[in-house]
Symmetry: C2
């Protein structure tokens, strides 16, 4: 019997993914040329379905990289001469900040403890930053930055480019793309695909910044610079031989999600998260890690436990239910549960029932 | 009925690959954590099987990137302060040279017409170059650089790092790793896997160079810098969530190749290339593009044709045999045929028989 992965990425495959992989093999998708009309059609439909799904405006490009981690590097390379600012409240926002420093730019941070958000007027943007980086959903702790804070920073600092990490919240998150400049994710989380593909939404302001840097003789990378990626994407192609199979699968799953309807996916996500939060809140051995209700992620549910998290995880594993351990320093104190579009209401209810009866 | 892909990459999947993909789905490999012991074991066995297959010495690391294109960028970033030298005789060696210039280093070239090699004392290395880049097998034209030339450059220039593109010749190519510093490839060619994974062999000299650059405060990238990749590889992990499925498949196919034996694969490759070259040489409408016999690739066979290459390709396609068109400017004048380990003697003989009877 197969296990059910509620781990926050890689996670359970989208429920149609396995069939799509088998169809891809029948159609010999892994053997086609990435310069062929067949590939161009796959690319085009992937982009169109994603654009429809998240209601992405025309001034945004959809680009493919190998991972969201790569997009961090490309954002700094392409969009920053001198300085970036990072709201850091967990391991992944921290990693982007660390990377900016590795790339020798002046990276500043606004730091707050894991499980918390800096919000409203507490977001003090001092000095000039060309890029301000938000993590909408910290996969490490299950804390979610209110979108209004992101939009209000952009309103106050219209010259800065606003990049939003939606790695573990898209397509649930309802972004107003008129109020940000870039968003990005990887497909092994909410899209339920094998890892190895990053998706980068980037608007013309970001592209103009990269072109400006290039014109000044600065290095903005090579094959995966924004001008290179955008140029190829206009031909429905990529600069290098990409992960063709994953682009095919992304097209199929985005199509499936459009067929189901994002409204339905969002309603189900909210229902399932309520079930999980209620169960954990009412359980004598669990506490929710994020105390402020409005900051609680709908897609990555994190609980502290006075049991040993490894024992909890093993108990669930014996019932073929896999949840994540805590991240980094929280490894032994937390469990993390993915609530992604592939996880059905019935599956989440089963997990909640199992959690309810759980003892050490 | 499925087609048989003799295109030079992406190409026909390795004959066991589809079964391995199905097993991976049964075992839920796409859902496992890249920090789990299961993944570490897959990584370790992939590396061990590759090391055995190509007889890679212990002073070489095996690292995973998204593509061979990425490795070009990482080689320059990590291993070059000032200058690289590129032997350019086709589209892919050209692209690496162009990329070095984009990365703002002093890139020099030794250029010769496509289909030719600069060999022996004609390889004039003037000035100081920290990296000298060879393309063992130009996938665009089917020309293969004699290994002795590569080794002799290293002997004469012991301070330079020697990087060898073996994208479309490994594992056939029998490299003496004591005489080079880096070699790299992507898995969609001779390993017959879906695209989306690059494999980088790199020795301690390259790593030391990257560490030296880092110590001087130079930017060597971030998550995919050599020190970062090597550090993670020692834990049988990668810095980012990698293409887990492809690393699993590479492990399986490298294992299959070891079981078959590389000697046998090499003998078959030579036999099959002789069949194809003979057929094309004796055909009134074809000429071999590479005139000098010792430069002819055993793995990518390229012929000029006085027919229209598109017609030839369509004629073969009607028989479910897919060969590649010419690359770039040669699109209409050449056909390119992959002779990879997955292509059986019987399949190549069938292609040769079909080519023999081909008229416009």
């Amino acid at each position: 019997m197969k296990s059910l992965y509620f781990t926050p990425g890689p996670s359970q495959l989208y429920f149609t993914a396995e069939e799509h992989i088998k169809t891809a093999l029948k159609e010999q998708i892994p053997s086609i040329s990435h310069r062929s009309a067949t590939f161009q059609s796959i690319f085009q439909h992937a982009v169109e379905n994603l654009r429809t799904l998240v209601n992405l405006p025309d001034n945004f490009h959809i680009l493919f990289t190998a991972s969201a981690t790569e997009i961090w590097e490309r954002l700094i390379q392409n969009c920053v001469d001198n300085s970036s600012l990072h709201l850091v409240n967990g391991a992944f926002s921290q990693r982007f900040y660390d990377m900016a420093k590795m790339l020798n730019i002046n990276a500043d941070e606004i730091r707050i403890d894991p499980g918390h958000c800096v919000t409203g007027d507490d977001i003090k943007v001092e000095g000039h930053h060309e890029l301000i980086a938000f993590t909408h959903n910290e996969t490490s702790t299950g804390v979610s930055q209110p979108l209004e804070d992101i939009y209000s920073v952009r309103e106050k600092h219209p010259d800065a480019l606003i990049a939003v990490d939606v790695v573990s919240s898209i397509p649930y998150v309802n972004l107003d793309f008129d109020k940000i400049d870039s968003a990005y994710f990887s497909v092994q989380k909410c899209f339920g695909l094998p890892a190895g593909l990053g998706v980068w939404f980037v608007n013309d302001r970001c592209l103009a910044k990269a072109e400006e840097r290039l014109a000044k003789g600065q290095v903005i990378g090579s094959y995966h610079s924004l001008p290179s990626l955008v140029k190829q994407s206009k031909k429905n192609q990529t600069p290098e031989t990409p992960n063709v199979l994953n682009i095919y699968l992304l097209r199929k799953v985005a199509e499936d999600m459009n067929t189901k309807g994002l409204d339905m996916i969002r309603r189900e996500t909210e229902y399932k998260s309520a079930v999980l939060y209620n169960t954990l809140e009412n359980h004598p051995d669990f506490d929710l890690f994020v105390k402020e209700q409005s900051w609680r992620s709908k897609t990555v549910i994190v609980a502290e436990t006075n049991l040993t998290s490894q024992r909890v995880i093993e108990n669930l594993q014996n019932k073929k239910l896999l949840v994540g351990s805590g991240y980094g320093n929280f490894k032994d104190q937390h469990i993390r549960i993915a609530n992604f579009p592939t996880h059905s209401k019935e599956q989440v209810e089963m997990l909640a029932d199992t959690l309810e009866t759980l003892t050490d």
